[in-house]
Symmetry: C2
Subunit: 352 residues, 2 copies
């Protein structure tokens, strides 16, 4: 099948998605508001409501390893990454379908724990697993979850609305998950206790579903995305869809404690981990200049989650850059996102 | 992870699904009309409309092999099996999400063909791929499709409505796909031309989506299912959900031409292939006694697809049986459906 032909491993995920977009017809459906290109499709249900649709496939040995994560944690995490996508549109999760590819040697008890994790992650949102499919695999576990959500038709926040002059905000801190992964890679499961929080951020991320809904309801955001690919990769998705550029202020990035120690151990800088390591599942969103910073803060007031302004949307021609503490602009590489390229990206190196 | 513990390969798919059902909470949602247990979930959208949700995961080496099927055929087939599920509820397909696990060595051109196949299978239904997810795998292709559909809330046909006295009908003929698989197993791709139709039924099944909608609109069916696991396995799903038994008349089963030759080659009977080999993607449905056979035939009139009465629903205590041409009742094994048991089922033997 493969001899002498270009393989998916040689082209990027982006290039592949672009090819697929060209093959598929423009959907002849007026109810389809957002399709391929956002992580989440948006479909009009009626004059008030929109349905949200997202999915995420995770493969053992590529996305997770049972040396690091328990089946229960994996269940929670697999659901959390989908919840995060629904939250980033300002939606409320509703129903999930779970497809599993199970190797015959997978313990029944672990399968139980996996579903308990998914259930526990969904329960606070009053969302339910309503179906799915089980299949056999040769030797690795494959978890594919499709999650539906519902949103106010007029309040859905996509990736496509950022405008020059908008300020860029991020919830919580960034780089913690990447640092947590480095801890596991360096120490294994018996890592020093001081890194517990970083590791937990990697294994048990908290999707910002309620915050996403709050941001949407308050109408303060022109674009929003969840941080699955890293600030540099995910903000770039917003820039591409919105037709704009961006500047990130290096000294504004909210970093978790102890990220410096870990970055050093792995021969990288803390900023590099924060920008390019991904899987933080925080929200990044853009706010038009007319909305004062106080208003943004007030939306987060009761949540206890910090929100930080980290940069500005600029004209596309002004590029995509990182501004250091001396005010120097450096090109920002939109990497961290590519699962395919054989050329190693930050993310892949980090995963070895 | 596995040492000394019971593995999923040792228990059946049914047992596993029952365990999962016990772990998951009863959905506290009044709009959820059918959940785990049917292949397709049914959710009330408003007073008129129901949303249908189904998914199907297929793994290279387990569900398909590129020695037998082209990427384009695989694309069509993966979509067809989902279309079939929506059709079996009387629904119209609307939107699909495609999750792919791709090995790095998978040719880009094959990925194109795969999506072309999916597109071409969806197009006549005016349904669209609206999103998905790409991930890397080590060495095999994984295709997981989630398909949504819409149906008239009052016309949805589930597996749970069959009553004693209902007659059992099946569209088209049964066993062709299983026979086609045996042809490929025996001869490979260079099989004798006289088996072309059987092989095509296996590689390129036609989901009965329009017929399913027609049956639902006509209101003639108390229960319906598509034949993915074989008549014996799928009718058993209806019996379980409806709390009834069934009798199949052996001499009524509509068999395709040349199935006898192929069955003999593989040491099985044609009836055995028809009952236990699955993947025909015909519709099996039950019709209450008050509806005359003529009415059933008239629903199919314009379609050109034959419809055959093959048996009767009986009380649960009257069992699940096959009636031979001499009128003798033999227990009917509900096999063909189990992807998990290490003990080989018909389906697994047939797949080696």
């Amino acid at each position: 099948l493969t001899r002498g032909r270009k393989c998916v491993g040689e082209i990027g995920e982006f290039t592949l998605i672009e090819r697929i977009r060209k093959i598929l017809p423009a959907a002849g459906d007026k109810d389809l508001l957002v399709d391929i290109g956002d992580d989440t499709a948006v479909i009009r249900i009626d004059d008030r409501r929109a349905m949200l649709l997202t999915c995420d496939i995770q493969v053992e040995g590529i996305h997770f390893r049972f040396e690091h994560i328990t089946p229960y944690q994996l269940g929670r995490r697999s659901m959390a990454v989908n919840l995060s996508d629904i939250g980033a549109m300002g939606g409320k999760p509703t129903y999930a379908l779970v497809s599993l590819g199970l190797p015959p040697g997978f313990p029944v008890a672990s399968c139980d724990r996996l579903f308990e994790g998914m259930r526990d992650e969904l329960e606070p949102h009053r969302a339910w697993i309503v179906g799915g499919n089980l299949a056999r695999t040769k030797d690795v576990l494959v978890v594919d979850i499709t999650l539906l959500g519902e949103a106010d038709l007029l309040r859905v926040v996509t990736r496509g609305g950022a405008r020059p002059g908008d300020r860029i905000f991020v919830t919580g801190n960034v780089g913690a998950s990447g640092a947590g992964f480095q801890v596991l890679a360096a120490f294994g499961k018996r890592f020093p206790a001081r890194y517990k929080e970083l590791v937990e951020r990697h294994l048990s991320p908290t999707p910002r579903v309620d915050l996403g809904q709050r941001i949407a309801r308050a109408g303060i955001a022109t674009a929003m995305i969840d941080l699955s690919d890293g600030v540099a990769g995910d903000l770039y998705h917003i820039c591409t869809r919105s037709g704009v550029g961006a500047q990130i202020r290096e000294d504004r990035l909210p970093l978790p404690e102890r990220i410096g120690e870990i970055a050093e151990k792995s021969g990288r800088s803390a900023i590099d981990l924060a920008l390019h390591s991904g899987e933080d599942y925080e929200l990044l969103f853009t706010v038009p200049p007319r909305i004062p910073a106080d208003t943004v803060q007030s939306v987060f007031g009761e949540s206890g989650v910090p929100v930080t302004e980290i940069g500005t949307i600029v004209e596309r021609d002004d590029g995509y850059s990182l501004v250091d503490s001396r005010g120097n602009r450096n090109p920002l590489r939109p990497t961290g996102w590519d699962h395919f390229r054989s050329t190693r990206t930050e993310r892949e190196v980090e995963r070895e």
